[in-house]
């Protein structure tokens, strides 16, 4: 019998608005249909645009209103088996939720952690409690309390993997459960101390460095807390081996990462007064020492400096200009960039767009939308200028 009676479900008044349709991108669909279904979480405050997080990706959720109605039809819930000819309408849906891959919304992390920086010789009690920042924000506790990892998971619209990567890349320590961003100047100090310690103790460089020796030496000679030392090593390399046995742990150093951070430390002092490129490189090489000198190279710092790229200015100078300080939403970022410099070489502007586009394709789309491309000169260089009034 191919005929079925279509009825409203006996529960249809209760079921109203209890069904939604999520449009699944192919990768997410494959993940859901896999043998081990993922944990999906919708994150966001009522005031924020909601996102859907898998264990390692973030999707923005956009509602698309349909002109048609979609009926969600099933068997009658709790209906008897004999009633094989009846199918019921559970709900009528007028919108589809689109999922668009998105960069994790990590900006809030910096805001939540403002004033919680960890500097030399500080302990938890010395943390300055800053009430002013949150004043006037009604749904927040009036008194500042420490931000724990589970707090961050709940507050930050990012997947688990993206959040823990962010803690590493933004250099946020976890001390007694609280998240504490290390101050950049102290981080540079610690890294320079690590390099010094490796040399002075005759420890192997770069590979299979005994973790305990480095951490102990830092603690004894320079009063760097052991948990701080250890986490800094984790950020700049990988700790391998020695499961359950700290003595056997070895550190595989990310040489470029360490050298880059030390370079940033020097560059950071030149936000307003430019430094000559040659002089900067000399200082940088000196800071990392003879052994690591060869790893020093300017491209390591891309996205963090502006260089006077016009051939008529000698010598070339550098200014500290971190992309992390730029606004996150594309329109304001472009307007900031074009205020800083009216004309950008394609290769120069790219590093400053890396963190607001998930891939190269999306970056080019942004450039197409917010900038005007012109090809100039003999080398056919592509320059970008601001688009007129939008």
């Amino acid at each position: 019998m191919a005929e079925h009676t279509l009825r409203f479900s006996p529960t249809s008044s209760k079921d109203v608005a209890s069904f939604k349709l999520l449009e699944l991108p192919p990768d997410l669909c494959a993940l859901i249909e896999s043998a081990v279904p993922p944990t999906l979480t919708i994150k966001g405050h009522p005031s924020e645009e909601a996102v859907l997080c898998t264990s390692n990706k973030t999707y923005a959720i956009r509602s698309v209103v349909l002109s048609n109605t979609v009926l969600v039809v099933t068997r009658s819930p709790g209906g008897n088996e004999e009633d094989t000819d009846t199918i019921v309408i559970r709900d009528q849906v007028k919108e589809v939720l689109e999922l668009v891959p998105s960069v994790p919304r990590l900006h809030k992390l910096g805001v939540l952690l403002r004033g919680m920086g960890y500097d030399e010789g500080q302990d938890e009690e010395g943390m300055d409690v800053d009430d002013d920042i949150l004043d006037g924000d009604d749904d927040r506790p009036p008194k500042r309390r420490k931000l724990t990892y589970p707090d961050a998971q709940r507050e930050i619209q990012a997947s688990e993997a993206e959040l823990s990567t962010a803690l590493k890349s933004q250099h946020i320590l976890i001390l007694n459960g609280a998240l504490r961003p290390i101050t950049p100047s102290y981080l540079t100090t610690v890294l320079e101390l690590v390099l010094t310690t490796l040399i002075s103790h005759g420890l192997p460089h770069t590979s299979a460095v005994p973790v305990k020796d480095v951490v102990d030496a830092l603690a004894e000679e320079y009063e760097v807390k052991k948990e701080v030392g250890r986490q800094v090593l984790e950020w700049f390399g990988e700790i391998v081996g020695g499961v359950g046995d700290r003595e056997k742990e070895r550190w595989e150093m990310d040489v470029e990462g360490v050298v880059r951070e030390v370079g940033l430390g020097i560059l950071r002092n030149h936000k307003d007064d430019p430094i000559a490129e040659d002089e900067f490189l000399t200082q940088w090489k000196k800071a990392v020492g003879d052994t690591f000198e060869s790893a020093v190279s300017l491209p390591l710092l891309s996205g963090n400096y502006l260089s006077t790229s016009f051939p008529d200015t000698h010598p070339k100078t550098l200014t500290y200009f971190p992309s992390s300080s730029l606004p996150l939403d594309p329109p304001s970022r472009f307007s900031d960039l074009f205020l800083t410099r009216p004309k950008w070489l394609a290769a120069d502007i790219a590093p400053f767009l890396a963190d607001c586009a998930v891939d190269k394709k999306e970056r080019d789309k942004l450039l197409l939308k917010y900038a005007r491309a012109t090809t100039e000169g003999t080398g056919k260089e592509v320059y970008y200028t601001a688009r007129g009034k939008m």
Partner: protein
């Protein structure tokens, strides 16, 4: 605020065999141009009420839907991207309540624990839908003709 989505299967019975070939055993999406508008003072009045007759013959891809004296002809359409159908579930889920035990008086967590019971279940992944996009045709019911002809005789 966190709202978990669990991947689960709904508890309802399987659909008739003609419909299960649309890719999902338990749920089918039917798209209508316009919407079903039922006049009632309370929305619960329409619970369990009949809407019409749905017909999809074995081996056919031409579903029809008769509502009152209107017949709709539809087609089966593959979705460009599959839909995950999620259903709101208000049964408290144990693992997520544990997340919210924090100091009392914390406004942020207060909201969290209220929402702790809210959960969505992904009950189905649907890859095809049935679309009724044409204008309805009037049904000249055989019954009506019969009545008409018999009344003539009288």
């Amino acid at each position: 605020m966190l709202i978990p989505i669990t991947i689960s299967s709904s508890s309802t019975a399987s659909l008739p065999v003609q419909l299960t070939k649309l890719g999902n055993d338990e749920l089918v999406l039917i798209e209508l141009q316009g919407s079903l508008d039922v006049e009632c003072t309370d929305s619960s009045e329409r619970d369990g009420q009949m809407v019409g007759t749905f017909r999809l013959d074995e081996g056919s891809s031409k579903p029809t839907l008769a509502i009152g004296h209107h017949l709709l002809e539809g087609k089966i359409v593959s979705l460009p991207k599959p839909f995950g159908v999620i259903q709101r579930s208000t049964t408290p889920s144990a693992p997520h309540q544990n997340v919210h035990n924090h100091d009392p008086g914390d406004a942020m967590c207060g909201i969290g624990s209220e929402e702790g019971s809210l959960r969505w279940d992904m009950v189905a992944i649907v890859k095809k839908k049935i679309v009724f996009s044409k204008r309805p045709m009037p049904i000249v019911g055989t019954a009506t003709i019969a009545v008409g002809s018999s009344s003539k005789k009288d």
